[in-house]
């Protein structure tokens, strides 16, 4: 007999609290990382849809935030995969999803859909920034006293340009057509990417809370809501940082300015852009919020009215165990309060940003209540489980599935964005219309 007690870890035991009759193998197997996974893909999809509103439907007012949303969506992309990799027990075998996809499983599509989507976003960025890239190549080649960063950027731009140096009006015109096509193609793919994340849950017939055909639709709507909200909040924050940095000449906080070798951003202009974009965007936020809320409440009413076998257990979870999380945090603070804040007349930028932050929190709570709430009751319907998130990790497992893993996932997109912004200045303004 082999003694392997030392390295033996029952996955889930560290953070699951069982109550009453729970089967021996039941634990909260899907914890914080699986809460973050649909949350992050939702942000990716939502940010992309926001940028497409401008490119496809020619909503001119969204011009500035659209470019930012596109680049930020690209920065979020690798992070949508991160929770999955952190969650896998065998992360190095994650490639198997691409190698031997079993298409009867909702997860199997992830590799392919995710890559398709990544290609579309990357190609769209390429077309949007092609003119800038070519101009930068010319500018940096001619420049005599290049900084170290500029010497690094030049070969990057040369590779990224793929040798397409033609920036005649005709060539740029075909770029615009390509952008429009990709943005239009991207909307269904983004919706599919996220809708199928909803399908992953909705198709689990063993789980009474998850199994509903509404799940993908609810996920898409809340994805767009959270994506737009994140764009508003982060756009505002980045603009604040930029204003602050522009005033004090702290160039390292303005990576795009750094890349171009100068600040040249007037503070007043930043302020007017910020106010205008944030207010307009929050109107769209309101529209998508209405759709998301309607569906979620419909789902809840339907479950209570039909009251099938599982309802007794679900009711216990919804109205007793998770009452605070669902009705106070998710619906109250996360939905109705920002709804009112956005509807009341005289919307200021600051109020829109606070409302958007609450929306972000609300959507996060919704993901939490779906993923963790779905595991809050036993398959026996006679017992309950509670997830107590590990705060202080004592091994790699409690780090990944606890606060540490959560913070790493949340921080990473901003780090990626910082560097991406050097190559593709997301806040660049040009006078041409697309």
């Amino acid at each position: 007999m082999v003694e392997q007690v030392a390295q033996m870890v029952v996955h889930g035991e560290a953070w699951t609290i069982k109550d009453l009759f729970v089967l021996p193998n039941e634990y909260v197997y899907w914890s914080i990382q699986i809460v973050l996974y649909p949350y992050m893909t939702g942000l990716v999809a939502g940010a992309f849809v926001l940028s497409s509103l401008y490119h496809v439907f020619n909503v001119e007012k969204l011009k500035e935030i659209a470019r930012y949303a596109l680049v930020f969506s690209f920065a979020l992309l690798p992070v949508a995969m991160m929770p999955l990799m952190l969650h896998l027990m065998q992360p190095f075998r994650g490639i198997n999803v691409l190698m031997t996809p079993h298409f009867t499983s909702a997860i199997s599509a992830f590799g392919i859909v995710f890559m398709t989507y990544a290609f579309i976003v990357a190609a769209e960025i390429w077309f949007v920034y092609r003119k800038f890239i070519v101009e930068s190549i010319y500018r940096l080649t001619e420049k005599q006293d290049c900084t170290r960063l500029e010497r690094l950027l030049l070969p990057i731009y040369k590779v990224i340009s793929l040798g397409a140096m033609d920036i005649s009006d005709k060539a740029l015109n075909s770029d615009h057509k390509a952008i429009k096509f990709l943005a239009a193609l991207g909307i269904p793919v983004a919706c599919f990417l996220h809708g199928y994340a909803g399908f992953i849950f909705g198709s689990v017939k063993a789980n009474a809370l998850w199994m509903t055909p509404l799940m993908p639709v609810i996920f898409i709507c809340s994805a767009v809501v959270s994506g737009i909200a994140l764009c508003i909040v982060s756009y505002y924050l980045f603009m604040e940082i930029r204003k602050w940095a522009a005033k004090r000449g702290k160039n390292w906080l303005l990576p795009d300015a750094l890349a171009q070798g100068g600040t040249a951003i007037p503070v007043e202009q930043l302020r007017s852009i910020q106010e205008h974009e944030v207010k307009i965007t929050s109107k769209y936020l309101l529209i998508f919020m209405t759709a998301a809320l309607t569906l979620e409440i419909l789902d809840m009413i339907f479950r209570g009215y039909t009251a099938v076998k599982s309802w007794d257990a679900l009711r216990m979870v919804i109205y007793e165990h998770d009452f605070m999380k669902i009705f106070v945090y998710q619906y109250g603070i996360g939905n109705f309060l920002p709804f009112l804040m956005l509807l009341l007349p005289g919307l200021t930028t600051r109020r829109a940003v606070i409302a958007s932050s609450l929306v972000l929190f609300g959507v996060f709570m919704m993901r939490w209540n779906v993923v963790i709430g779905g595991q809050a009751f036993s398959l026996t319907f006679a017992g309950f489980m509670e997830y107590s998130m590990p705060i202080i990790p004592h091994d790699i497992e409690t780090f990944k599935e606890g606060l540490g893993g959560m913070l790493s996932v949340i921080v990473t997109p901003f780090i990626i964005f910082y560097f991406l912004n050097m190559i593709f200045p997301a806040f660049m303004t040009d006078n041409e219309s697309h």
Partner: protein, 156 residues
């Protein structure tokens, strides 16, 4: 000159071809759709044989009988004759080679698995003589009074 529009597509095609080539070498050759179809039988075929070759630890009374036939014959008619040898004597593994000697579980807890008194109407448990583990000679091993193979005190 419109051809630059297709360049991202060429990059994508190269990446996809690269993945397919990698796949050809990465995926075991016997991986595929087997008897139960794509939904239930998509797997690496040689894994079935790997599971068939998984080492067995319990060998059963017949295996014990190969050497200990004297004991088995005597004990099969005893009160506890229905209990397989390995339940108390431990799994055989490769005994007598490895382990040379089996570790017998003589603990009170082992006996209590059946003989702790529970009220279980409509279950076979009710037909087994039971004791209250808290009251009945607490702290002592059952085998001090009872012969584990033939535990009735009258027969001793």
């Amino acid at each position: 000159m419109k051809n630059h529009v297709w360049r991202p597509l060429f990059v994508v095609i190269v990446i996809v071809i690269g993945i397919l080539v990698f796949r050809a070498f990465y995926v075991p050759s016997d991986f595929g759709v087997q008897e139960r179809g794509y939904t239930f039988g998509y797997h690496r075929l040689s894994n079935e044989q790997e599971w068939k070759d998984y080492p067995a630890k319990h060998k059963g009374n017949d295996y014990c009988n190969e050497c200990h036939d004297d004991k088995i014959e005597e004990l099969e008619s005893a009160q506890h004759g229905i209990i397989p040898c390995e339940n108390c004597h431990g799994a055989a593994f490769d005994h007598p080679n490895d382990p040379e000697k089996l570790t017998i579980d003589r603990s009170r807890g082992l006996c209590l698995r059946c003989h702790a008194e529970l009220i279980m109407p409509s279950s076979g448990r009710n037909d087994i003589p039971g004791i209250d583990p808290v009251e009945h000679n607490k702290g002592e091993e059952c085998s001090e009074c009872h012969n584990p193979h033939n535990p009735s005190l009258e027969d001793m």
